[in-house]
Amino acid sequence: MSENRTTDNGRRQFLGGALALGGITVAPGVFLMNVAGAKPAHEAVTSDVRWGLLVDTTKCADGCDACVRACQAENGWGGPDSNEVRSSDDQKAQWIRKVHLRNKQTGSTHSLPLMCQHCEHPPCEDVCPTGASFRRADGIVLVDKHICIGCRYCMMACPYKARSFIHEDLHGQKVNAPRGKGTVESCTLCVHRVDNDREPACVEACAAEGRRALIFGDMKDPGSEISQRLKRLGVRQLRADLGLNPGVHYEGV
């Protein structure tokens, strides 16, 4: 036994050394540890960041759908040119939608965009029988449509009704948002933009409208605007009681 233990220790030390070495460089001049700034294209995403979104409903205007239109243009769903001609309205793609809330007692109203909430514990991932629904290390929840069999369990599991299913043959998809018949889809947090240090299309469009009701950023960076804003009173997650810890937060509802 004691001999075994010695061997194990030796192996651990060796592995530890190998890891330490690996942590320093992968190639001359290329460091695995990224000190600050952009993620190089060849590096995998890590859990050192968690992307989040804050929706300030006090700035979100009733009747404004700039975020929805920007998402449609960016990811090629919906709109007048949609290939989904035979699907009924509740079957059509819906990555993001405007929701109107009205308090029956006081009559106060809120308007807010609702999309995939990018949960830390996504129920869509739990129920997926093939592993197509998954959560990236940086917190973005996606559907790997190469693996999706179109069973739609995830659509039923999602408490936010964030996912939709494509019923029809599509043409002319966007290069950054491949979509096809027989698979489920939802907001990707514009992952192709995020990986290139850009903000999601909805956030950009909201700022362009001069509202800035959408704030995007890294919730694990204490200095980021979103981290500062999340500390404020009146910021909450939708259905926080479910314990899913969504990455999307709402202020003023």
Binding site: V30, A41, L170, Q173, N196
Partner: protein, 162 residues
Amino acid sequence: MARFPALIRRAAALAAVLALLPAPVLADAPRPEIPRGKGDKCVEPTEVMRRDHMKFILRHRDETMHRGIRTKKYSLAECINCHVPKAEDPARQVHVSSPKHFCSSCHTYAAVTVDCFECHSDVPQETGVAKEDLVVPVHGSAPALDLEQEAARMAQAGGGAE
């Protein structure tokens, strides 16, 4: 020992059949007309790409989808950008449904269905990717890049890195 003559006999019969075939069947079998890409050469030698392009593409697909690795080499979007010419007039754009499309030129010939383009774009589009591709090998099992050769190539191309 007893089987050997039988083999020879079979081979002789086969040779006889081949000899009877009209010569053009063997010599002038139709070949697919494959459109040339934009650049000087592909990311791997042509013989390797002919046989193994899907291995590179599938591996890159999973790396991008699940780990957010967005290098340009082996990216399907970049295959299309280089191999499919963009038409000025959208009505004249060659799509994968046409045998003139780079992918279908060969896949039609080989009778192998391509289903990439049921979801992916089969024509060049702006990807909006500003970052330069880094030439660091990240795949364990993919053929390792010859870094010296790559560095020489980059130097030749005019420095590249600052």
